[in-house]
Structure formats: structure tokens, C-alpha cells
Amino acid sequence: MAVLSRRQLAGYAAGQLLDGRSPRSLSKELAAVLINSRRANQAELLADDIAYELESSGRAANATITSAHAVGEQLRKQISGFIKKSAGVDDVIINERIDESVIGGVRIDTAAHSWDKTLSRKLTEVREVV
């Protein structure tokens, strides 16, 4: 039996989700494939690949926003709108992460894009320039 590559699996999963299949049953199926092909340790990478496929297809983006303080609902909406426009996707899933080391500003990471407007990044740039 030919073993599907992780990329092929991700494409298949993205297609199934876009077709409206239940994420739960799809997850079970993918887990079975990974275990059967002795690649259970690649589950996280497969999830990233699926997110990349979904974002590339313009369906949805799974975004992680990192900031020093909680952004609040209004800002979340603004950020969501920005991602939709910039990544060209219909839907955005936001995961918020608080990290005081960024000092201020925000960093937005999706499967295919990344925007870093934090003060810690600016300070790093200053150090590099000097």
C-alpha cells in the first residue's frame, strides 16, 4: 500500500473540511492513518499543514496573536478584519497569547503569514542596526 505524504494528507483533510465534513470524524481518520504509517509524532506538523492548505485555499486562517496585554474584543475584530484582508481568507480563527516579553504592540502569526509589530522586535532591529 502506497504511503501518502503529509502534504497529500493535509490537502485531503482541507478538502474534506471545505466539503463540510465533521472535524471530529476527520481527526479520527487522520489519526488512524498516522498511527498505521508509524508517523504519530507528525500529528502537530500535519495540523500546521492543514491550516496552511485552508489558508492558501482562501477558506480560513488560524491566527495566533501575541501581545503583552489582553487586546479586547474591539481590537480582536480589527485584527480579524486585517487578517481577512491581508491573507485573503473568508474566516479567521484567533488564538490569543499573552507574553510580557514583547513589551508592547502585537505579533500575528498564521500558517502562511507573519506580522511582527512588537516593541521587542523594534528594539532588536535597533540593536542589529547599531
Partner: protein
């Protein structure tokens, strides 16, 4: 052995030889004796004596000849020795001159080499100094940047509260859009 035969007598004064004062009989006797002695000498003595003298003369001649040959050999040897000494002196002079020339050449080369080495060492030292200066400058600049960034970070941490942070994020989103 020969006895004196002349004597004056009264008898001899009468005949011819006797008138000369010579006794004829004694004279003849002495003559015969002389001849006998002469014959004996010639027969047994003189040949041996001559042979001995001849041998001695030959020995002397040989000795003289050998002495002459020895002297000639000595002269030849002295000449050869002189010639060899001369050649040896000439060779020694040549070797000495060559050695002096080589020594001068080596000294000259050594001086040039030492001068070049000194110049190279100075150049390398200058280069190392320049690199070290640049490294220190870069290090100092890096440390200064770290200090500035650290100070800025501390100030920002004090100044940025939740409200300011939201403003900052909104401004960032506007810039990104």
C-alpha cells in the same frame, strides 16, 4: 836491506869502477837482491796493493756519486716541497678569499632578511592592531546598543500600560493596512 856498497878501499882505486869508489861485487849482489825483491813485490805485493787501492778508489768514487745523487735528490725534493708549499699557499689564499666572499654574502643576505622580517612583523602588528581596534569598536558599539535597548525597554515597560498598548496596536494595524 840494501847495504851501503860504497866504501873507499885501496884495491878499487886501480880499475875503472873501482876508481869511483864502488865495489863491483857488492854492487852486483845488491842489484840482484834488489831485482829479486822487486820481482817478489811485483808478483805478490803490488797486485794486492793496487787492487786494494783500486777498490778503495772505486768505493770513494761510488760514495761521491751517491753523495752527488743524494744531493741532487735532496735539491729536487726541496724544489718539489717548495712548489707544493707554493701551491698550497695559493690554494689556501683562494679558499680564504672564497670563504670571505661567502661570509660577506651571507651577512648581506642576513641583513636583508632581517630587515624584511622586521618590516613584515611591523606590518602584521599594525594589521592586528587595526583588527583589534575594529573589534573593540564593534564590541563597544554592541554593548552601547544593548545598554540603550535595555534602558529603552525598562522605560517602555514602565510607560506602556494596557491602554497605551491598545493604542499602539491600533496604530500598528493602520500602518500594516
Amino acid at each position: 836491506m840494501i847495504l851501503p856498497v860504497t866504501h873507499f878501499s885501496a884495491d878499487s882505486s886501480s880499475s875503472g869502477i873501482s876508481s869511483l869508489g864502488v865495489n863491483l861485487k857488492s854492487f852486483i849482489f845488491q842489484l840482484i837482491t834488489f831485482l829479486i825483491v822487486l820481482l817478489i813485490l811485483r808478483r805478490w805485493v803490488f797486485p794486492k796493493l793496487v787492487a786494494t787501492l783500486e777498490a778503495r778508489r772505486k768505493t770513494l768514487e761510488d760514495s761521491l756519486l751517491q753523495a752527488k745523487q743524494t744531493e741532487e735528490a735532496l735539491q729536487s725534493a726541496e724544489k718539489k716541497v717548495g712548489q707544493m708549499l707554493h701551491e698550497a699557499r695559493v690554494q689556501a689564499d683562494a679558499i680564504l678569499a672564497e670563504a670571505n666572499s661567502k661570509v660577506e654574502e651571507i651577512i648581506a643576505k642576513g641583513e636583508v632578511s632581517a630587515s624584511e622580517r622586521a618590516a613584515r612583523i611591523v606590518a602584521e602588528a599594525e594589521e592586528r592592531l587595526g583588527l583589534e581596534r575594529e573589534r573593540l569598536h564593534k564590541e563597544l558599539r554592541g554593548e552601547l546598543a544593548d545598554l540603550v535597548a535595555l534602558a529603552t525597554e525598562k522605560v517602555l515597560r514602565q510607560k506602556i500600560n494596557e491602554r497605551e498598548d491598545r493604542k499602539l496596536i491600533e496604530q500598528s494595524l493602520k500602518e500594516l493596512a
